[in-house]
């Protein structure tokens, strides 16, 4: 039986998280709005009105291009892509065709199996989104709220080799988009949309075979699922002696099946030409420098550095660089703390992440600042509080925004390391438990733990356990 290799390229549409649309001053996000309320003459294509490019769209596009290692064009152009569709009010989409914002580029995707897949970028351009169409019986309901929302379309080469690789690409892309604050990248809300071009070929072949295009997939799981379905279908077709046809397929999430949309035999001619309503987009070096001045370290670079610089296990480094705020938080806490970064990581991975999940906050929104966290860790290390007090402090600092040291003082949470106070309690415990004292003295020295526990209980955990043990040993061995 022939072994097949899967060849996948992804076309992603990334909705930028600017405040306003790309060519008009309507707000970009209208997720919660009633249909056709977030509209104006420009984004609904009324006669005579003209597009005016939003500066922030260019800036976010440049950030993405930089992150994808693309060449940024100092002069790029907008073009009209002409076609009729009811949710495309002008009858053309303002997009970029041959001379778009950036060309080339790649993204290296580390796979869970350990290897890295380099995914090349074929196209990266800015464009406007269309509206939304809902079907209702034999009617279509059109909502223009989304018209003119800024998008970056990014198309990869046919470089991905499995549904899983496709999913990993989307996971890393989503991480990057959020990291750069370019997009909310929520697939369910359509901030990140993905069409997958799928074909198969006999293993060892370098030819590209007829591909199908899967559209309308709105989660990473569904992308994976749909590609898997399609690969199976293509193998079935080929095994049955049929040819794969260049179909456009629609993923029906509810039925978990693919539907054929329209034949791609006659590739539509969009009759691209330069958008005469806009001037060429010129980036000056000064503007470019300004946009890129604060270009951050990217997640994968940072992950590698966390491993080498802070000796974190890969697992920790991956989670701590999953999101930029969290990763900044970690690094800031490490800088305020003289001890082992792994201890900081433990606190983050166990406690802080849970706290974030429960509150829905991002790390930078916590009242428990990295400085406070470092303070707690330092107090535990110095024996000023015990570990459980330390953990308890996390919540207290978060709710009160008071410094941990102050809370410890106010609530008297500090460990008692006063010899006489501990000694008094220890003497009391020794006197009250003659039977255990006898057993200890008969040689069962492991009972020391039990004695220490009694002292701690009596002192409600505030005794320095090391000192308590020392005093107890002294008393018992007398």
């Amino acid at each position: 039986m022939t072994e097949y290799e899967v060849v996948i390229g992804l076309e992603t549409h990334i909705q930028l998280n600017t405040k306003t649309k790309i060519f008009c001053a309507c707000k970009a996000d209208s997720w919660d709005d009633e249909p056709n309320t977030n509209i104006c003459p420009v984004c609904t294509g009324l006669p005579g009105v003209l597009p005016v490019l939003n500066k922030a769209v260019v800036e976010k596009g440049v950030l993405l291009a930089k992150a994808m290692h693309s060449d940024i064009r100092m002069r790029s152009f907008f073009d009209r892509k002409n076609y009729f569709y009811p949710d495309l009010p002008k009858g053309y989409q303002i997009s970029q065709y041959d001379l778009s914002l950036a060309s080339g580029g790649y993204l290296d995707i580390p796979m869970p199996e350990g290897y890295t897949r380099r995914v090349t970028i074929h196209k990266l351009h800015m464009e406007e989104d269309a509206g939304k169409t809902k079907n209702a019986g034999n009617l279509r309901l059109i909502d223009f709220n989304r018209c003119g929302v800024p998008l970056v379309e990014m198309v990869t080469g046919p470089d991905l080799r499995s549904a899983n690789e496709a999913a990993q690409y989307l996971i890393r892309l989503r991480q990057l988009l959020r990291w750069l604050d370019i997009s909310e990248a929520d697939m369910e809300k359509g901030h990140l949309r993905c069409d997958a071009n799928v074909s198969i070929r006999p293993k060892g072949s370098h030819q590209l075979f007829t591909k199908t295009e899967i559209k309308n997939v709105n989660s990473i799981d569904n992308v994976k699922n749909a590609i898997e379905h399609e690969v199976e279908r293509q193998i079935r077709e080929v095994e049955a002696g049929n040819r794969v046809q260049a179909w456009t397929l629609d993923w029906d999430e509810e039925k978990n099946e693919l539907r054929k949309m329209r034949s791609k035999e006659t590739e539509a001619d969009y009759r691209y030409f330069r958008e005469p309503d806009l001037l060429p987009l010129d980036l000056t070096q000064a503007w470019l420098d300004e946009i890129l001045a604060d270009f951050p370290e990217l997640p994968l670079e940072r992950k590698a550095r966390f491993i080498s610089e802070y000796k974190l296990p890969e697992y920790d480094a991956d989670i701590l660089t999953g999101e930029r705020n969290l990763s900044d938080y970690f690094e800031s806490a490490v800088q305020h703390y003289a001890g082992d970064p792994k201890k900081v990581s433990n606190y983050l991975m166990n406690d802080i992440l849970r706290m974030l999940n429960e509150s829905g906050k991002t790390a930078n929104q916590l009242q428990l600042t990295p400085t406070f966290l470092a303070e707690i860790l330092t107090m535990v290390d110095a024996g000023q509080i015990n570990t459980s007090t330390g953990k308890g402090l996390l919540e207290k600092v978060e709710t009160s925004a008071k410094s941990p040291r102050k809370i410890v003082e106010e609530e008297g949470l500090g460990l008692v390391s006063d010899d006489s106070a501990i000694r008094a309690v220890a003497e009391k415990i020794v006197a009250a438990n003659p039977k255990e004292v006898e057993t200890f003295r008969a040689g069962k020295e492991s009972l020391i733990g039990w004695f220490t526990g009694q002292v701690m209980r009596e002192m409600r955990g505030k005794a320095d356990p090391k000192m308590a043990t020392k005093i107890l040993m002294e008393l018992l061995k007398k």
């Binding site: 005016v52 279509r140 909502d143 949309m261």
Partner: protein, 106 residues
């Protein structure tokens, strides 16, 4: 002289243009298209420099004469209802159009 826009090409253009013509209109339009194309072919007699720079506009814009880009500031349109009021068919805030029949796989 052979016609550049044959009835076949013409019908294809009519479809692309989302038009539908009666015979009289079609005959007139096809004749005029072919006439105009004859005039357009005059352009082929011009020797063109290879390095001739194409621009979108006749006037050249410099960095200083180009208008600045728009700041990303929200300015809601005061009366979106007036836009919707122009639509031929509206139901519960949606613009209504007929469907396109859909083909199912398999």
């Amino acid at each position: 002289m052979s016609e550049e826009i044959t009835p076949e090409i013409f019908n294809h253009l009519v479809t692309l243009a989302a038009l539908e013509l009666d015979d009289k209109q079609a005959a007139y339009l096809r004749r005029e298209l072919n006439q105009q194309l004859k005039a357009i072919h005059e352009l082929e007699s011009i020797p063109l420099d290879v390095d001739l720079k194409i621009t979108t506009h006749g006037v050249s814009y410099s960095l200083t004469t180009s208008p600045v880009l728009r700041e990303d500031t929200w300015l809601p349109h005061p009366n979106p209802g007036e836009i919707l009021a122009q639509a031929p068919q509206v139901d519960e805030q949606y613009i209504i159009v007929p469907d396109i029949p859909h083909e199912k796989l398999d």
